[in-house]
């Protein structure tokens, strides 16, 4: 599918970016945050939801687009349980069973900003490029419904989606989330060019 060296380079770069993101999350929460090595997978559009936890799974999601020299889409997914715990930790409000209020939603979006900006800053410095994040977009609902606009967009140019997924965990507080980058071919080719490795081969 890919040249191994390109994949290793891709994972390494993303790992540095998400490592930085985890460090900021750790600072905000004042807790130890664990991350895994990014998993790279090429998934048929119909299978993406399953890969991320299932259509019907209730989640809290924050979405960003990056513009500048590398355009990509970034999605942060927390289980609903984690999303509500985080909102409570961040605002001091008691934990909710139903939908978050506006201030709690903002706190989650701000957390998303901090995580995503750390990733983007790390990537910009590492690759010496300009990257800008969009504002955060928030949704709390079943996973399949939250991500279908993304699948729709990707499906206009491909039947498959490339996922770069990094899981983040805070064991002491039983929190877990995923930081997912949806790179397109253009993103990968530019990235590999910057890294001086051979072009993407699908």
């Amino acid at each position: 599918m890919f040249k191994d060296i390109s994949m290793d380079a891709l994972k390494e770069v993303v790992n540095i970016g998400t490592g930085q993101a985890a460090t900021s999350l750790s600072e905000v929460l004042n807790q130890k945050v664990m991350i895994n090595v990014p998993q790279v997978s090429l998934v048929p559009i119909e299978e993406v939801s399953k890969q991320l936890g299932g259509n019907q799974t209730p989640i809290v999601g924050v979405y960003f687009q990056t513009t500048g020299e590398l355009e990509s889409r970034i999605l942060l997914i927390f289980s609903q349980e984690t999303g509500h715990t985080l909102a409570s930790l961040l605002t001091g409000n008691p934990k909710r069973k139903s939908e978050l209020d506006d201030i709690e939603k903002s706190s989650i979006m701000e957390l998303g900003n901090i995580i995503t900006n750390s990733y983007i800053n790390a990537m910009s410095q590492l690759l010496d490029i300009k990257l800008y994040p969009s504002i955060p977009f928030y949704a709390e609902d079943m996973l399949g419904a939250v991500i279908d606009f993304l699948l729709i967009e990707i499906s206009q140019v491909a039947d498959y989606s490339l996922l770069l997924k990094t899981e983040m965990m805070v064991e002491s507080a039983n929190l877990n989330g995923s930081f997912i980058i949806f790179p397109d071919e253009n993103f990968l080719n530019k990235l590999f060019e910057k890294l001086g490795v051979k072009k993407l081969e699908i």
Partner: protein
């Protein structure tokens, strides 16, 4: 009764009593078409309004226009009467809110508009719809009654 699941960009048609379900419609649009007399019925989980803008693939269930045409053709072959079809629409939400949402996040409303225009051209009446808003919907359609059960994460169960 048989239970048939319809995945994203798929369509299924039946001529025996069945429930057709599809999960987590966000911006995607669920299109139900049935013939109340012969009970031949179909459900599509469509992603995009117009097959003419297609760059890849040829799945009829992916586009509103081709999904409707394909369901009608399969249903007619299964013995549905002509000119007796009715429809129900569910989905086409915009899951994110805010003034800065991009065009692609608003694809749901374009899907709904496309379905209404295609159905109107064909003279197919829309009996009921639960579209738009900012929440996801999982649906179960009963081909014997024509009823559609709508489940959401944040809203009570609804029937149309």
């Amino acid at each position: 009764m048989i239970k048939i699941s319809v995945g994203i960009s798929e369509l299924k048609v039946v001529n025996t009593p069945a429930t057709l379900d599809t999960q987590s419609l966000g911006s995607c649009l669920g299109i139900v078409i049935f013939d109340p007399l012969s009970k031949v019925a179909g459900l599509a989980h469509t992603m995009l309004p117009d097959s003419k803008q297609a760059n890849v693939g040829n799945k009829p269930g992916k586009y509103v226009d081709t999904a409707i045409a394909e369901m009608l053709s399969q249903m007619t072959n299964m013995g549905a009467g002509k000119n007796v079809f009715v429809a129900k629409l569910v989905g086409g939400a915009c899951m994110f809110s805010g003034s800065a949402i991009g065009d692609f996040m608003n694809i749901g409303s374009r899907n709904v508009a496309a379905a209404k225009s295609v159905l109107a051209e064909l003279g197919i009446k829309i009996l009921a719809e639960d579209t738009g808003g900012n929440h996801g919907r999982t649906i179960e359609f009963d081909s014997t009654t024509g009823k559609v059960l709508i489940k959401s994460a944040m809203h009570p169960i609804k029937e149309i």
